[in-house]
Symmetry: C4
Subunit: 214 residues, 4 copies
């Protein structure tokens, strides 16, 4: 399968999912207290919107960075990619549920946050599976060097472990679990998936930061 249409479809799903996030922001309308009160009361929705928006955005960036080095995709990779999108599409639901319950506190808030963190963990594991499959089946135009493979492994381990920890933390402190999800987004904004550049030179992100590579 030509990778172009996989990217086009994935971009469509990312774009719709990231835009649907904002549907959660809706206020209840007149007759439910002042608007100022409603907006203040909804702070978890705004924080959740920002974290989920940039998390989906980062996944999209990494998705592009990975696939542009993969000349052709096979059927198994298409389905692993569908599994990744399965979790991406669930993010607006998980975000809305979490934001709704977080301000009510109690055991429901803890469960809602655990579901939120669980969807992020699923998405993160699916992305790792896509990456490992691409590397293992030698679908990259240029193979990873050992140092790149180590850096990539470290990177995925950090993300997956952090989301896994946040599932547990959710049952103690939902806000702390949310903070972890935010911290992971910031971490990934600065730390890239190591992949070969299309011009054929394998490089670590740090070496490529100054050129146009992404």
């Amino acid at each position: 399968m030509d990778r172009g249409r996989l990217e086009a479809f994935s971009d469509g799903v990312f774009a719709v999912a990231i835009t649907l996030l904002a549907l959660n922001l809706a206020v209840a309308g007149p007759g439910h207290g002042t608007l100022a009160h409603q907006l203040t009361d909804q702070w978890p929705a705004f924080v959740a919107y920002a974290i989920s928006f940039f998390t989906i955005g980062i996944i999209w960036v990494n998705h592009h960075a990975l696939f542009r080095t993969v000349p052709a995709v096979d059927r198994a990779l298409v389905f692993l990619n569908l599994l990744l999108l399965f979790f991406v599409v669930a993010i607006p639901f998980a975000t809305a549920t979490m934001a709704t319950y977080l301000r009510h506190g109690g055991s429901d808030a803890r469960l809602a946050m655990a579901v939120f963190a669980g969807v992020f963990e699923g998405m993160s594991l699916a992305f790792a599976a896509v990456f490992l499959y691409v590397v293992g089946r030698r679908l990259l135009a240029v193979p990873l060097t050992p140092s790149m493979a180590r850096a990539a492994t470290l990177r995925f381990t950090i993300g997956n472990a952090a989301y896994l920890v946040s599932i547990g933390v959710a049952f103690a402190s939902p806000s702390a679990a949310l903070a972890i999800a935010g911290a992971v987004a910031v971490y990934y904004m600065f730390e890239r998936t190591p992949t070969a550049t299309p011009d054929g030179s394998a490089s670590l992100p740090s070496e490529a930061d100054e050129d146009e590579g992404c």
Copy 2:
């Protein structure tokens, strides 16, 4: 018509429909029992989401596999493709209705499941119509061999028959009908539409499984 824009528009519809599926997952919110109870109570919604997600995903994969071997599309094919999308777009509605009624049981659950299976049958028939039109009008870059034609006929017959059966089964056991829809998704995940590869060699899926074909 250049096939590129037909694919782009179809990808957009597939992407929006697959993402809208998750809108059905919304829980009722605080004051409607514990979240744990709501999530457990909603199991049909999650099962339905998974089955519909991967069914749309598979249709997209097969859509791509078919159209990449069609250099140009005529007006009738565009409208057959619209008919296919007509049913794809109805899947989120059918999924939501089915998931809502399945947990209430009774005759409504049976009808809702029959509607769900009916939309899948319509989608499956429309895809078969697209395929038969493409083959009949010799729009494929490389014609199907007799063995490929037999394999394709078998494949479409199995899917169409299974969905048709599930419409009937829905009136006896909605859960059994849902299981059939899930089984069809798994079947199609492993069984591909036979089409020629773009490099010009006609091949059965089994022969192409080890290369990059999709």
Copy 3:
């Protein structure tokens, strides 16, 4: 402006609008009568969904047929295209409103149908404006012949006049106005916008029907 991105953006809007149509199909759920009754009661929603779906689909087909003969677009054309999309995006709203009120009858049903027909008229006028601008500014790769220009004028006049008539008819009989909208969709499914083919030969639709032109 390169026409590629105008097409990509327009395709996205068409795809989202056509998919959002199905959101109107939602049934009220358990406790609002049997599902069979709800589905029967909602027949205007299903008819409206089908008519609006194929109307947007046809506009998309014609949009593609027109723009593939326009090598480059200028800023005014981009804004005329935005005006067209402005009405396309309003179609799900007009469809939902019409479907909701049609089964209640009375003056609200008449007004709702007039609004529905009015949005279709606006969309039709905007498409005519796009077409006339393209022809008038000589943006077509191959100019229209006089017979093609006559055919195109006739075609747009029929559509615009039919929708205009249906606005008036809506106040007498909403169902008759809906039937007109359906008839226009069928008419346009068989009658194409005359434009030059990309290979440089100007042709009427009837002459191109047997080749791959669309």
Copy 4:
């Protein structure tokens, strides 16, 4: 990063956001007064829809005009672009909230309009940041001339200042603030971001108005 996929993803977000705007237009349905009354009562929703639709449309046009002169994008630019999309995606929420409260008047209407204007200001500042980054990092295929740089600075300053003023005006007169947002949309419809043309000649918009440039 290849700019193609950044454009495709951005186009998807623009397309979904612009189409979701129309979800705000929904009327309450039978039993909430006559449809005529509901439609008249909803005038702010229709005005808001039109202003937000064309504002997003203009941002899309300018986004295209800017990026088609940028051969490759780096990681920082991708995230600045995500920040722009973050505000674009929030526009349907801001529009719906504003339209809901505007007709109720009072302090809630003033706050809702300030939030609306604030989202537009954020979007405008993010676009200016994208532009300044592109110019500052010399990512343009052809550098801006001093006169083009002055024209661009003036253009962004006018938009940003107008939205900033409208935040303040919102607390005195929400309608006046809405009028400012409408006026800015009209202004940008006629005034373009100065950028080099792809054929290599740097030009002010006024010089390029007669050719196919956009």
